[in-house]
Symmetry: C2
Subunit: 226 residues, 2 copies
Amino acid sequence: MTEYPPFAVTVDLVVLTVRDDEFCVLLVRRGVPPYQDRWALPGGFVGFDEDLPDAAARELTEETGVPEPVGHLEQLGTYGGPKRDPRGRVVTVAYLALLPDLPTPVAGTDAAAADWLPMSRIADAELAFDHDLILGDGLERARAKLEYTPLATAFCPPEFTIARLRTVYETVWGTRLDPRNFHRKVTSTPGFVESVGRATEGDRGRPAQLYRRGTAELLHPPMLRP
Amino acid sequence: MTEYPPFAVTVDLVVLTVRDDEFCVLLVRRGVPPYQDRWALPGGFVGFDEDLPDAAARELTEETGVPEPVGHLEQLGTYGGPKRDPRGRVVTVAYLALLPDLPTPVAGTDAAAADWLPMSRIADAELAFDHDLILGDGLERARAKLEYTPLATAFCPPEFTIARLRTVYETVWGTRLDPRNFHRKVTSTPGFVESVGRATEGDRGRPAQLYRRGTAELLHPPMLRP
DNA sequence: CCCGTTTCTCGTCCTACTGACAGTAATCAC
DNA sequence: GTGATTACTGTCAGTAGGACGAGAAACGGG
């Protein structure tokens, strides 16, 4: 065992949310070299006695201040090219988190600064390390998962309207969806959402019914992109 | 960098194929402790200057003797619990390979013995380390990918009949499919398969047309499990 | 050569799902 | 009130897919 070369192992997080009809990712600005002053995905080293999902959850709460069981967290993939970190051989396990819009923007604990950046403002190759590659994979995973899972609800608060859920789909996919067909589809797919019985109040227009996420893990039939 | 604890990094392979209407996985019998004489997934350490996909491809050719560009190889997931290997902290990146039935069973180079084991003969928790967990994830990934990608063709030789492709689906999913509806579905999905123009000869019944895999990466619409 | 067997392939209902769009319901601003 | 705005329900037509029927092309046995 000991004759094999040592690797450093980190977790990096692709934390996505929908804010003001924009698809946003949580990034930190690096305060030290390499890639000083560049935006990067939040992340850090895995403790020697720490499991990988635990490390990811720890980093997530450190960066967002959210006491976990909000939203969704899953492994995205592992990136370990020999040249991806100039300091040495670092393998990173990327995790994907989908969160509702958090009122507190972010108070970085161990990073210089952290903020939600809308996708539209992220030019390619602007990120540190291979993080634009990881981010791209995370976006594609999120877009695909909305098709066949009810995970769009992870972007919503505990109670939400069908219109809110629709704007999540529209924002993540970058398309427009017909409100009437979307309403029919969501309410007729078993286990996607369940009615709360109450309605919104005070907005413009007719009040909308409130829903919770349902019990289904998979959508049958799936909600396919146009 | 150096103040962080060193990890060992390995790749493990879930290599699947369809042999004689049975869904099979390539396993090696361990010749040394821990888990001596138990079946395990093939795998090995990642070289210090080696990229992860390269390490997976190298292990695959070492174990099967196939000069790569046959079948399909993709990252499955990473497993790194602190107790998963009694010898120390080992993080393994699992890869999933889908191969056509190989005439040469296998000649293990660095393992005691290697063989194709049908799923029906693998009892739970029989495998070394957490390999039954990894195998389970690989099976589920393979089953799901047949739904929305043309990867069933990775289990077939370069030229195959629709019936052969159907037995792949039936074997992997463990269900029966209607031959007529399956034929219509496959030939009407753009990019799934393309006709070769020739037909089989010498079998029982009417000769079947031969097909190649098409150019599509995704099936539209998907082939959903019953 | 005829005939049954096997397997492949095409065609025909019939139902479910979905895109397009009309129309009704409930609130607010004035 | 009236109009604006948003939520919801309903209709209709086109497509996809499950459940068959039936013909086509090989083989083997009398």
